[in-house]
């Protein structure tokens, strides 16, 4: 309004200087955004109940989150590639249920085939891969929307599990299947080692290998990725199969931890899976986010759940409160990232 030049700076024609790029640290910061939240939750937990910090409780929290963590790992990779898989929550139940039904006697609600018990784990993992491959077939070959395909698969797979087991929980579990969910290696449950290792492998693959970066390229701009010589369909297909495999593995861990396969194993997990991924900074639009962020999302949700239990929130209310806190966390994640969440 005065005569002074308070006018538009023309958009700078050049980016920053090359070299000490100012943005990479920022991107890393975004990655670490949840670390303060985790620390805060730890402090809150310690105040609410001293038991919280005991190694037994921490181990317990982590072990309970291993299955969710594997699903989030699978979903995060799939989301980064710009796709969807809702059916993971049914795979986690069907894969172990089908494998067990094939090995246990008909009297224990099995199918009566009574295959050798040693085949249970390979069959379980294979079922996961096959489900991922079938999703890929429908999405990539028949060009169906990933959302509706995997929503359909979620229902079909859940139905299959109920059909196969007659709606019964399976209790007669061979020791080989129980092992992974129960074993303790070097004083820490094996399932924590497995999940941790797989996250490290995933972070390395997506961060430091050409084929892992292709996942980001596909999610960011499929046409550009294809133009750069990336076999986009093949990569997505493999990712979907890896997703199914991880879900089946999560199913094994859950079966071992609980000592049975419930007819509703995994039911309702998918919202938590998406919430952890999104809180962890994964974009539903694809191409954005890191597996480390997703892991932080899992830990945040696990801590919240544990704190609510320790705080003595009544079992009838815990679901509503937990859901509400997830929504609040999503709002906070949206506000702190500054951009619309898509």
């Amino acid at each position: 309004m005065t005569g002074t030049q308070t006018i538009a700076k023309p958009p700078a024609p050049t980016g920053g200087r090359p070299g000490l790029g100012g943005r990479i640290p920022l991107a890393r910061l975004r990655d670490l955004a949840l670390v303060p939240a985790i620390l805060l939750l730890v402090v809150v937990g310690a105040i609410i109940d001293p038991v919280f910090l005991s190694s037994a409780n921490i181990t317990n929290v982590l072990q309970q989150q291993t299955e969710l963590a594997l699903l989030v790992l699978a979903e995060a990779i799939i989301l980064i590639a710009g796709k969807f898989d809702l059916s993971l929550e049914s795979t986690i139940g069907l894969a172990p249920a089908l494998a067990l039904a094939l090995v246990i006697p008909a009297a224990s609600n099995g199918l009566g085939t009574e295959l050798p018990a040693g085949l249970a784990i390979p069959i379980c993992l294979l079922v996961g891969v096959a489900i991922g491959a079938f999703n890929g077939l429908l999405i990539l070959r028949f060009k169906l929307s990933a959302f509706i395909v995997t929503l359909g698969m979620l229902i079909v797979l859940r139905g299959l599990q109920i059909g196969i087991t007659g709606g019964q929980n399976l209790f007669d579990i061979p020791p080989s299947v129980l092992y992974l969910g129960n074993a303790v290696w070097f004083g820490v449950p094996a399932s924590i080692w497995i999940s941790g290792t797989l996250f490290v492998v995933g972070i390395a693959a997506l961060g430091f290998f050409r084929h892992g970066r292709a996942v980001y390229a596909i999610g960011g701009n499929t046409d550009a990725a294809r133009a750069a010589g990336i076999r986009t369909d093949r990569v997505v297909w493999i990712i979907l199969m890896v997703g199914g495999l991880l879900a089946a593995l999560a199913g094994l861990l859950m079966t071992g931890r609980l000592g049975s396969v419930a007819a509703a194993q995994g039911d309702g997990m998918i919202f938590t899976v998406f919430a952890a991924a999104v809180i962890g900074g994964i974009s539903l639009d694809g191409g954005k986010g890191t597996l480390f962020g997703a892991l932080c999302g899992v830990i945040v949700l696990g801590l919240i759940n544990n704190i609510l239990t320790l705080a003595g929130v009544s079992a009838q209310w815990i679901q509503a409160i937990y859901g509400a806190i997830i929504l609040i966390a999503l709002i906070l994640a949206r506000l702190t990232s500054g951009k619309a969440q898509d």
Partner: protein, 510 residues
């Protein structure tokens, strides 16, 4: 090497052409996209490919880049036949194309985009080394972009430079630029041309596609014209007059766009758009501007001049910090599009794909979106009335379409823009604001678009045309020049091109 020896068909003796497509035919279903067309591009030249929308340019480009297989005919690079379609690496070593649509992945860094899918062999990616290689590459071509920046934060200009650098890094010396200037402002275009000349001197061959014939004369040595899927001519630019070039494109002796003769607007005509003391921090300051009924006013300025932000403020897409916008005596609620429309504003947005049209809906639905309340009682849209209204629009604006039922994404750029214009004029606005109305539109459609606008003005609409294109502004009664957020100059009809361009560039400030 003079241009004369470079015409199509030259074979013996001369150096093998950098790229050559011969007798190319391509059909898509019933549509013939190319009918034994061809192009021969001599090494080291900048070759223009022009033609109206739908002439077959895009098809030829996708065949030259190995994205489409021609039904017949062959492609050769440096005299040797083109590699197999599946061998993308081999293609990329020979030819690269910078498309209008970005092939950059916005969420990844510039460095990673440059080395996409070749960040490393089988082993670990060395991120630091990758950034260093990217910095070296960018520095080698004097592209001042931070390799660690996310590619999505680049400007259009920077993005193009990164894509050119990437193309060159594959070893390709033949580069296709598909309408590179469409989204750049005048200064950026000049910088691009400067860079093209440098690279050309270093031995790079360009195929340059543009709707701006002026640019063809400025930067190209040879021009090839396609029309109706056929090759029409290939000729050195300096032996081809502007009229002859337009004639080759249109098929008859078209005239270049002169201003349309219009009677002067009387002083007594009411002011329909009154902008007073408008300011928006970071974009523009102290804007006063009046458009009277029946008047055509142009507004020109570089990309950073704030002209588009001003237009968006008038349309209610942005909210000014200070000042007022009045439409035909009313002051609509600032920052509200419905209020601006209700007050009698028609608005043609800058990006017709993003803000102008719903691509999957039909021509009829798109054209009648703002007037659905007039198509039937109580919110009911009577299909027959909608169709009838749309049919009238199609005739009035000469929209080339299968009919009102065709989805707009099937229309060519020029015709899609006519639908947007028809819609903007559908509720007989008192004032019409248009931003870059003819961007990406061929010469013929440009003419009919501008005539429709002049017609609307003759009916008493006050029109503000915000554009960089001099052709858009020739019919205007006066043209305002914006520079760094202020109106610095006003010229009346009959201005000289040079006068306006120097003012836009801020070369001589008053």
């Amino acid at each position: 090497m003079t241009g004369q020896t470079q015409t199509a068909g030259t074979v013996a003796g001369a150096v093998a052409p950098a790229a050559e497509a011969r007798d190319i035919s391509k059909r898509y279903g019933a549509t013939v996209a190319l009918h034994s067309a061809g192009i021969t591009i001599a090494p080291g030249e900048t070759h223009a490919l022009v033609g109206r929308n739908g002439a077959g340019k895009s098809t030829l480009v996708s065949i030259l880049t190995g994205l489409q297989r021609p039904d017949s005919g062959q492609v050769r690079f440096d005299g040797t036949p083109a590699p197999a379609l599946a061998d993308r690496d081999a293609w990329r070593q020979r030819v690269a194309c910078v498309y209008q649509k970005s092939t950059i992945i916005p969420t990844l860094t510039v460095a990673e985009n440059l080395f996409l899918n070749r960040q490393a062999g089988r082993g670990l990616i060395d991120w630091r080394g990758l950034r260093r290689r990217a910095a070296d590459l960018l520095e080698g071509y004097a592209v001042a972009v931070d390799p660690a920046a996310p590619a999505g934060s680049l400007t259009v200009e920077q993005r193009q430079l990164v894509e050119i650098a990437r193309a060159l890094s594959f070893g390709a010396t033949f580069i296709i630029l598909d309408e590179p200037t469409a989204q750049l402002d005048a200064a950026a275009i000049e910088r691009l041309f400067g860079r093209m000349r440098e690279l050309q001197a270093a031995g790079v061959t360009f195929l340059f596609i543009s709707h701006h014939l002026q640019e063809v004369y400025e930067v190209c040595q040879t021009v090839t014209v396609l029309r109706d899927a056929r090759h029409i001519l290939t000729q050195p630019v300096d032996t081809l007059s502007r009229e002859a070039l337009v004639a080759a494109m249109t098929g008859d002796a078209g005239e270049t766009l002169a201003g349309i003769d219009r009677p002067a607007v009387p002083e007594s005509a009411p002011v329909v758009l009154d902008v007073a003391g408008l300011g928006l921090a970071g974009f523009y300051q102290d804007i006063d501007l009046r458009v009277r009924a029946g008047e055509l006013v142009g507004l020109i300025g570089s990309g950073s001049s704030g002209k588009v932000a001003l237009a968006e403020t008038i349309a209610g897409l942005r909210r000014a910090d200070t000042g007022t916008v009045s439409l035909a005596g009313n002051t609509p609620k600032p920052g509200s599009v419905p209020a601006a429309l209700a007050a009698g504003l028609g608005y043609l947005p800058q990006d017709r794909h993003r803000e102008g049209l719903v691509p999957l809906l039909s021509v009829a639905e798109n054209a009648t979106l703002p007037i659905t309340d007039r198509l039937g009682p109580a919110g009911i849209i009577a299909p027959t009335r909608q169709r009838a209204v749309a049919q009238r629009m199609i005739e009035a604006y000469d929209i080339k379409t299968d009919g009102p039922h065709q989805p707009v994404n099937g229309l060519s750029g020029g015709n899609a823009q006519k639908v947007v214009l028809a819609r903007a004029l559908a509720n007989d606005p008192k004032a019409l604001v248009m931003v870059s109305p003819t961007a990406g539109v061929d010469v013929r459609s440009k003419d009919s678009l501008l005539r429709a606008v002049a017609e609307a003005a003759a009916q008493g609409t006050g029109v503000l045309i915000v554009s960089d294109e001099l052709d858009d502004l020739r019919s205007c009664d006066r043209v305002l020049v914006m520079f760094h957020g202020r109106v610095v100059r006003e010229v009346s009809r009959g201005w000289a091109d040079a006068e306006l361009v120097t003012a836009v560039e801020g070369v001589e400030q008053p």
